[in-house]
């Protein structure tokens, strides 16, 4: 009898509900590692540099203290490396995190190692070229140029490796790697002063040895993490560029990472490249810097570390449980009431957690402001730098909270929303920075605060409004299995169907169907 009835495939719950669960959060944690390491290393280097001296020209045996310009050059080299690698690798990091999470979800372990190799290749090639083009016209020694490019490439690679570690939840590797890296940097910074790298002769870079020490620190981190990772991953020699489509598939996600980090640095960039008072040309024609704010913003990042750790611990435990609880209710064939209840619980707990993290952050920010004068003894902070440090610390508070909100937003795959929030943050931060150029030096750096506060407010309100609709979002946005491209079946007037016979003639649109019989 007639009827096609049910030639349906048994329905499967398509798509990944629990995928990439912890990945973003781990990445956040491990990403703060290099900051701490580098800031601490720079402090140590600065202490060592303070003891260095240069021979006074023409007066044999006479020595004078190393001019400030040298240590500043080292400092700015590091700032440049961090600022630009963060921005350039952010999209790649997010794409890789998402790709690896999907692979883990599909229980594919064989794709990791080839992906690691190919990502590293792309990353190293890209940053080598960019780094080299940048350094080519910087007036310094070739050794320093090469070392700077090296650091640039290595740090970029560390960010990407952090994404891998975060994605496969191997963060136990991070502690050892960073402690070892830090130790190597300190020891080398001390020891290399007695080698040819520490050449104080005319036309030489006396801080080269410190740069090399920093490089060796990053090399140590990479060596430890890479060895461990390749031991953990299945070894395969084939190429794997499958992660690349993720950049295209989730352009909003990639772009949101880009704008978040751009927003972080846009103030500095503005002060570097706007011909105002206070900026200094480091070397060449374009390596501008605004040393007070570069230093202050770099150090101010330290004030978010306790909050990052609290956030990490919370998301690892409570939030993850709630998150799983919600999706388990979905998968375990529970009624809608249960699903709604779990969502309400998740939302409430998340609100509470963000509130307590905010308290932690505010305490840290307050502490940083109060104790700012103590920096004077540590790294050559004058009154203006201390003021800027306070401004940057003030900005770091909403910046950290925004980061957390964005991470949660990624969790729920609200990528477009994340993009709009980070783009808004960037725009406000940039506009504020432009405004400060006229408002005076005491307002410099406030863009981070205004931008991130705006982003945080919008992002938080939006996130919780979206979470009110989480069930709707979760179900209705489930991918439709095996979609057919509509052009195949759609006629020009928007109706569906395929003519196989018209005006009494068979239309041979699908010749594989065979001819008439019977």
């Amino acid at each position: 009898m007639a009827g096609i009835g049910f030639k349906l495939r048994a329905y499967t719950q398509e798509g990944t509900l629990l995928g990439f669960t912890k990945a973003y959060i781990h990445a956040t944690l491990v990403a703060s590692g290099p900051w701490v390491l580098t800031v601490l290393s720079l402090v140590v280097c600065q202490l060592l540099i303070a003891g260095d001296s240069l021979p006074v020209q023409g007066q044999l045996g006479e020595k004078r203290a190393l001019p400030h310009i040298y240590s500043q050059f080292l400092m700015e080299t590091v700032v440049y490396v961090f600022a630009f690698t963060l921005i350039t690798t952010a999209p790649l990091q997010l794409a890789v995190i998402r790709y690896l999470a999907d692979q883990l979800d599909a229980l594919r372990l064989d794709t990791h190692f080839p992906a690691l190799v190919s990502v590293t290749m792309v990353n190293v090639t890209f940053h080598s070229i960019v780094g080299f083009l940048f350094m080519y016209n910087i007036e310094t020694t070739w050794a320093y140029r090469l070392a700077a490019v090296c650091l640039f490439v290595l740090v970029a690679e560390v960010w990407v490796i952090m994404a891998f570690i975060g994605a496969v939840r191997a963060h136990h590797l991070v502690g050892t790697a960073f402690v070892s890296g830090f130790a190597v940097t300190i020891v080398m910074a001390y020891l290399l002063r007695y080698t040819w790298l520490h050449d104080t002769g005319p036309g030489k870079e006396p801080v080269l040895s410190y740069l090399v020490a920093l490089i060796l620190g990053q090399v140590t981190i990479l060596a430890i993490t890479l060895t461990a990772l390749s031991r953990e991953f299945e070894f395969h020699t084939r190429w794997n560029f499958d992660w690349w489509p993720y950049v295209k598939r989730y352009p909003a996600m990639a772009a949101s990472g880009f704008f978040y980090y751009l927003a972080l640095w846009i103030g500095n960039f503005t002060y570097w490249f706007y011909p105002g008072p206070g900026r200094e040309l480091m070397r060449g024609e374009y390596m501008w810097a605004f040393p007070p704010i570069d230093l202050a913003s770099f150090f101010a990042q330290m004030s978010i570390i306790p909050a990052v750790i609290v956030f990490f611990v919370h998301t690892e435990t409570d939030f993850y449980e709630d998150y799983r609880g919600f999706y388990n209710a979905v998968l375990a064939r529970k009624g809608l009431d249960v699903v709604v209840h779990r969502r309400q619980k998740l939302t409430q707990n998340l609100k509470d957690a963000l509130y307590s993290i905010l308290v932690v952050q505010l305490v840290c920010t307050l502490g940083a402001m109060v104790f700012a004068p103590f920096l004077d003894g540590l790294y050559d902070f004058d009154a203006y730098k201390i003021h800027l440090f306070r401004v940057c610390a003030l900005g770091a508070a909403p910046q950290a909270m925004l980061l957390f909100v964005l991470v949660i937003t990624y969790y729920f795959q609200f990528y477009k929303q994340a993009l709009i929030v980070s783009f808004t943050t960037f725009v406000v931060a940039f506009l504020t920075a432009l405004w400060t150029l006229g408002a005076g030096l005491e307002w410099y750096g406030i863009g981070l605060f205004t931008g991130c506060t705006t982003g945080l407010v919008i992002g938080t309100i939006w996130l919780f409004r979206r979470l009110q609709l989480l069930e709707f979002q979760t179900f209705m946005s489930q991918p439709v299995a095996e979609q057919v491209p509509f052009e195949k079946e759609m006629l020009s007037d928007g109706r569906f169907g395929v003519y196989t016979r018209r005006n009494g003639q068979n239309v041979e649109s699908k010749p594989q169907r065979g001819g008439a019989s019977a």
């Binding site: 009898m1 007639a2 009827g3 096609i4 009835g5 049910f6 030639k7 349906l8 495939r9 048994a10 329905y11 719950q13 979905v330 998968l331 064939r333 529970k334 009624g335 809608l336 009431d337 699903v339 609709l469 709707f472 179900f475 209705m476 946005s477 489930q478 439709v480 299995a481 095996e482 979609q483 057919v484 491209p485 509509f486 195949k488 079946e489 759609m490 006629l491 928007g494 109706r495 569906f496 169907g497 395929v498 003519y499 196989t500 016979r501 018209r502 005006n503 009494g504 068979n506 169907r513 065979g514 001819g515 008439a516 019989s517 019977a518």
Partner: protein
Amino acid sequence: MLDVCYFCEGTYPYVPGGVSTWIHQLIEGMPDLKFGLVYLAPSAASERRLRYKLPPNLIDMVEFNLYDVVAKFPQTTFGDKGKAWREAGPFLSGLINGHGRNFQRAFPHLVGSETVPPALSFQDLAFSYEAWQILTQMYHDFGPRVSFTDFFWTWRYAYFPLFKLFLAEIPRARVYHAVTTGWSGFMGVIAALRYKRPLILTEHGLYVNERRIEITQADWIYVDKASTVNLETGLGTFKQIWINLFVGLGKACYENANFIYTLHRENKEMQIQFGADGSKIKIIPNGVDLKALGEVKETAMPRDDSKFRVGFVGRMVPIKDLKTLIKAIKLVEDKIPGLEVYLCGPTDEDPSYYAECKTMVEALDLGHIMRFMGRVDVRKYYPIFDVQVLTSISEGQPLVILEGFAARLPCIAPDVGACGELLLGGDAEDVAIGPAGVLTWVGNPAQTAEALVMLYENPELRKQMGESGRKRVETYYRQEQLFERYREVYDECRKAHDRTAVGIL
């Protein structure tokens, strides 16, 4: 413009069977009319091979893939979405409860007209927050403990084809003729409302009934333990939802058809049960070409009176319940010397079922008696058979019985569909012609076996029954009668200036 457009769901011209043959017959029988058809297939991937030589007066044919989801395509919409949701909502949510009402009110917002696009696009219907609200509201009608995930996916699989159906390409014709309810019947409703032309519905077997059997047996539908007032016993929420959906689509079709035809009385009663207005229903039985069947020159093999040849004609599919026949043959294997059973019909529609049957025949050591013939020209076989046997779970008005009768072949058939009427006669006049076979219970090998033995032992009775069958066909089931009746209704509809001018609406 076409005169008549058929809606064929998994039948003509790609799947052979009673309905397909019937459509082919009608198109060929009215060469002066221009025909079109829309073929509904589950998906583009399903294999299609023409099983009939398409007559030259079949002008247009559109193929429509029901379950292939086509999403995210541009669609223009028009009008007030708020109002559209208010007016379309009751129809959409009613369907899952087995109500097909309110479609006329929802229609403009879902289908639109030839010039005005609908207010609700596929995207609105499938992904919007308003759709979600209707969905959750429907869910709450089924009770709080029902698995929401399953409910959601059931909704998707049940409603996405419907949303696509709203946008189906349907050739313009003066009359639309649906040959089942279900998806294709509903497509007929859409066509009739879109082009304001009359809709005729002919049901051979009852679609809703057949889907019910299929759904009840389906193992891919999750059966939960929840019990609410909405449920029939034991099926669980989700099987019930599927059944409700088809009942609902059927009701929409009954409500909007100008004329409803069926093959026999029993069907008519069931149609009324499923929501059809009894005053709309008329009976037009199948008809066979007596001339062609009566004058077969060449037979498949010479008759051999030392053999007792039993014929089974039909597709090798579960609804024909071949296994009951195999069991019955096992029971009579020793009682009927020279027994031969010919199983004639396509085997490729449900290959796994066919394989099961073959295995069963081998396991019961019946290989030397039962032969799978595949697709053959059955007209060459009827004359060499001594008796025809059917064991179907469900039947309409089997054409094969009529064809057998035309060749004076008595029949053993279960008491389903119109089999009783065919074998024993309908009204008193018909009964007077005499029995043309033996009626059995459904799924009862012992009774089938008993009937076989009886007919084997009574050649005289066989001959008498064969004559009665022939006479019955000559009186009531001639092809010309079928053509006349449909010709009449087609003419009436073709001349109508509007769909409201004919039949009962």
